[in-house]
């Protein structure tokens, strides 16, 4: 049940009035039931996995909390083992085949590769379960009863591709679970419409150019095309994933639960670290809080070790995105960029404004170029293709456009849209619903704008192309 399908619209038309018409425990039950139906619509077989993980995490959290209350020292079986077990489930589904492929390729073995179906959203809900256990271990509150807890990983708007929730922000939302105001509903609709436009009109149209370019013979791509394709992919993945997040946040707002923001103009970032404060923000803070900070503590004053950990952590982020060397390189690339930025900052930070400001500006431009170029190993089908494309990009060989002029113009229009329109749109959709104007003309202007948006969605409908992040 893709967010862009009519089935999902029908599902919302049934579920939201039902949620609005119930109260208290029943509202939670309706939400949980709807979430399980939503997941079952993808593949009913994996509902059991989702439930089993939820029940297991809840039980493990209870044991950790009980041990903490009784003042006993945390044991491996209580605290660490459940986290390892959950991560093993993720690894079994996501990395087994890839590891066997690697073993066959590098070790010369002849393992028959198993056909493993990746349960939808497993990367997201396993991380949420892990974060819950770690939070309880640190003294955070348990979420009980089981029915309420199961909503944490399974809540349908965020189930398959985030935002990745933390229990300390989700539990209060459940505590004050109430009927969404009409203003919140309106804000939710605005957000859904904008998310759909980003995904269907912009991301899917860019995908046509990106797909044909990245599937071309790597040796034949010139610098101009390589940059055009990479920038197009950078925009495509932004519109795709932020569009998805807009829809998830919008739907949740109509339900009465606020989800955290996931994007904040990522390509406006001032540095590689700043990029991760703006891109997939809920994943960034997960990694920061549960991986990077603990490792940093261990590194102590050994700066070099902090840098090593940073690169390792970012490589892990890459691996989380997918079982492939390209993803690991993408993550490590970001890690190295962050290290270089920190080193440069140490040297430049103490300079006078005169030399420092131009250096910072140059650094910002270079960062942006390298951040965009980092998408190449992420998107290219093979390492050889990625290498050829990067070589073309940085040796500046080949400035003859090989594709239709319309492709370049559309990519340029999207780039202009990102620079000019997206900040305004984000400001509009992320504001407090109570500030929406409902008495003036702008309220009724929504009617023709919604109609026009729907016409565009129909025109660009390609029978529902899956969101990129659904595969992670």
């Amino acid at each position: 049940m893709l967010f862009t399908s009519f089935t999902y619209i029908l599902f919302l038309c049934l579920v939201i009035p039902l949620v609005r018409s119930t109260e208290g425990v029943w509202r939670e039950r309706v939400l949980l039931g709807a979430s399980l139906v939503y997941y079952a619509a993808w593949d009913v077989r994996f509902v059991a996995l989702l439930l089993a993980l939820g029940v297991f995490t809840h039980a493990a959290g209870h044991r950790i909390a009980a041990a903490r209350k009784s003042g006993t020292k945390p044991r491996f079986g209580n605290a660490t083992a459940p986290v390892v077990a959950i991560l093993l489930v993720l690894a079994a589904f996501k990395y087994t085949r890839w590891l066997m492929e690697l073993q066959n390729a590098l070790g010369g073995t002849q393992f028959t590769l198993p056909k493993i179906i990746l349960p939808l959203g497993i990367s997201f809900f396993t991380f949420e379960c892990v974060s819950y256990l770690l939070d309880v271990q640190k003294g955070g509150a348990e979420l009980t009863p089981l029915r309420r807890f199961l909503l944490f990983p399974a809540y349908f708007p965020h189930l398959v591709a985030g935002p990745i929730l933390r229990i300390k922000e989700f539990a209060p939302e459940l505590d004050k679970l109430r009927r969404a105001t009409w203003l919140e509903t309106l804000a939710g609709i605005d957000r859904i419409v904008i998310g759909l436009l980003k995904k269907v009109v912009l991301a899917d149209s860019l995908a046509l150019f990106v797909d044909q370019g990245f599937s071309a013979s790597p040796g034949r791509v010139g610098a101009l095309d390589a940059w055009a394709l990479t920038i197009s992919f950078a925009l495509q993945i932004f519109f795709d994933f932020s569009g998805y997040s807009d829809i998830a946040i919008g739907v949740s707002r109509m339900v009465g639960i606020r989800l955290p923001e996931n994007f904040n103009l990522p390509y406006h970032a001032e540095s590689p670290s700043d990029f991760w404060n703006r891109w997939h923000m809920t994943l960034s803070r997960w990694v920061r809080d549960y991986l990077f900070f603990p490792l940093n503590m261990r590194a102590g004053k050994r700066v070099w070790l902090r840098y090593v950990f940073l690169v390792l952590v970012m490589s892990f982020v890459g691996l989380w995105h997918g079982a492939g060397v390209g993803f690991v390189i993408w993550g490590a690339w970001h890690g190295v960029l962050m290290v270089l930025h920190r080193v440069a900052q140490r040297r430049v930070g103490h300079l006078e404004d005169g030399p420092r400001i131009p250096l910072e500006r140059v650094g910002r431009v270079v960062s942006l170029i390298l951040l965009v170029a980092a998408w190449v190993p992420f998107r290219a089908p093979t390492l050889a293709a990625a290498t050829a494309m990067l070589r073309a990009m940085f040796t500046l060989r080949g400035f003859r456009p090989a594709y239709s002029i319309n492709d370049y113009l559309f990519a340029l229009a999207c780039l202009a849209g990102y620079v000019v329109l997206v900040p305004r749109v984000e400001r509009f959709v992320q504001r407090d619903p109570e500030t929406h104007e409902v008495n003036g003309r702008t309220f009724w202007l929504r009617a023709p704008l919604y109609a026009l948006a729907v016409q565009f969605l129909f025109m660009f409908d390609r029978s529902n192309i899956a969101f990129i992040y659904f595969q992670f």
Partner: protein
């Protein structure tokens, strides 16, 4: 640094939003959608901007003689073809819109009543006159049909069809060699299991530059069909989904039903804006280089090899270009013509260089100047005259 500011303080509104008011907005939005569906504003704007260009005339040959849907539903079109009578063989023509359109008269008159005779109709008539009931020409041209798509279509004709074509007339248009990818209509062929087998067999025969397009097309088809039919993750697990029924129901609304036409009009409008505002028209000089060119030539090479293997004669011709338009770089164009000639030689095919065959008086007119692609009935007659002899020779009729 530009960031999204935190939410501003809550304003005190004189009147909050009521459910009735929101319902009113929904009703108003639905009314606007109905109005948009019926008024078709886009078409009016597109026509106003593009003028006569939007009205290229297409003839009406009998359904058995051409792909009326132009690749839109290829499998349905090809399956609907009636078997030929015993002793009758088919000549298949593949190319772009030049093969099936005629520009309207420059004064714009009588567009609706024109019944132009295009090259394929003329060839059919000539062959019929010489050998009654022996040969039928089928025009499988599609707008901007690249050679990857032509090979894809030919896999069906040459590997699957019970009545394989006796000859293949291949139009090579340099401009089309910028295009890559396999469009959705062509992907419908994958619904035929034997086609899928033929495709997979081809993919196992060593890497070719166009293979990624084949793989991507199959992936897109699998995603789309899985989502339409079952909406599960791609696997063999089938589940019921209301999506097809919902889409069928949506087809009763004007806005949804006319979405493809509306998109065409929107693109037409954008095209006109591009031409008028940026001065980039189909006549603008462009490079035809790199991966798309390599992919197309590799696909053409394999298409000719496949035809030869299936004992299907080949006539390859370089499509006429408007002498009044200087849209290619000379060295690139000459190299391309030489590559065509070399491919024809390699596969023992007839080759006709028709690049300058149609004089500039017989070409159409676009909103900002001469049409580089489409010529009039005289142009079609010239192409027919040039192709008839090599085609007859290839078919063993002119020894």
């Amino acid at each position: 640094m530009e960031t999204i500011p935190t939410a501003p303080p809550i304003h005190e509104l004189k009147r909050g939003l009521s459910g009735a008011r929101l319902l009113g907005l929904g009703v108003a939005a639905l009314a606007c959608m109905a109005a948009l569906g019926h008024t078709n504003v886009l078409e009016k704007v597109a026509t106003a901007l593009t003028g006569a260009e939007a009205r290229l005339v297409t003839p009406s040959p009998e359904p058995e003689a051409w792909d009326e849907k132009r690749g839109g539903t290829l499998l349905t079109t090809l399956r609907a073809l009636q078997p030929l009578p015993e002793g009758t063989r088919r000549v298949l023509m593949l190319g772009n819109s030049q093969q099936y359109t005629v520009p309207p008269p420059k004064d714009g008159s009588a567009v609706g009543t024109l019944r132009p005779r295009i090259t394929s109709m003329r060839l059919s008539a000539s062959l019929e006159a010489e050998a009654p009931g022996k040969l039928r020409v089928y025009n499988g041209a599609v707008d901007n049909q690249n050679f990857t798509e032509a090979l894809w279509q030919s896999l069906f004709w040459l590997e699957l069809s019970a009545q394989k074509p006796a000859a293949l007339v291949l139009q090579a248009s340099f401009d089309t060699l910028r295009k890559t990818g396999i469009r959705g209509g062509y992907q419908t062929l994958l619904d035929e299991p034997r086609f899928l087998d033929a495709l997979h067999l081809r993919l196992t025969k060593g890497a070719r530059p166009y293979h990624p397009d084949f793989v991507a097309a199959e992936k897109q088809w699998r995603e789309r069909t899985a989502q339409l039919a079952t909406e599960t993750t791609p696997n063999e697990w089938k589940q019921w989904s209301p999506e097809p029924a919902l889409r069928a129901a949506m087809n009763h609304t004007e806005l949804f039903r006319r979405r493809e036409g509306s998109k065409g009009q929107l693109l037409g409008m954008l095209y006109a804006i591009r031409v008028r505002a940026l001065g980039i028209s189909p006549r603008t000089k462009r490079h035809i280089v790199g991966a798309p060119l390599e992919q197309n030539l590799a696909a053409l090479d394999d298409l000719m090899a496949l035809a030869k293997e299936k004992h299907c004669a080949i006539v390859l011709y370089n499509a006429p270009t408007n002498p009044a338009v200087d849209m290619f770089f000379v060295e690139e164009y000459q190299a391309y013509v030489e590559q065509l000639r070399a491919l024809a030689l390699k596969h023992g095919a007839a080759f006709e260089e028709l690049g300058k065959a149609v004089p500039d008086a017989h070409w159409g007119y676009l909103i900002d100047g001469p049409d580089p692609i489409h010529f009039d009935e005289t142009g079609h007659t010239i192409v027919h005259d040039k192709l008839l002899r090599p085609l007859r020779m290839s078919l063993g009729m002119d020894r």
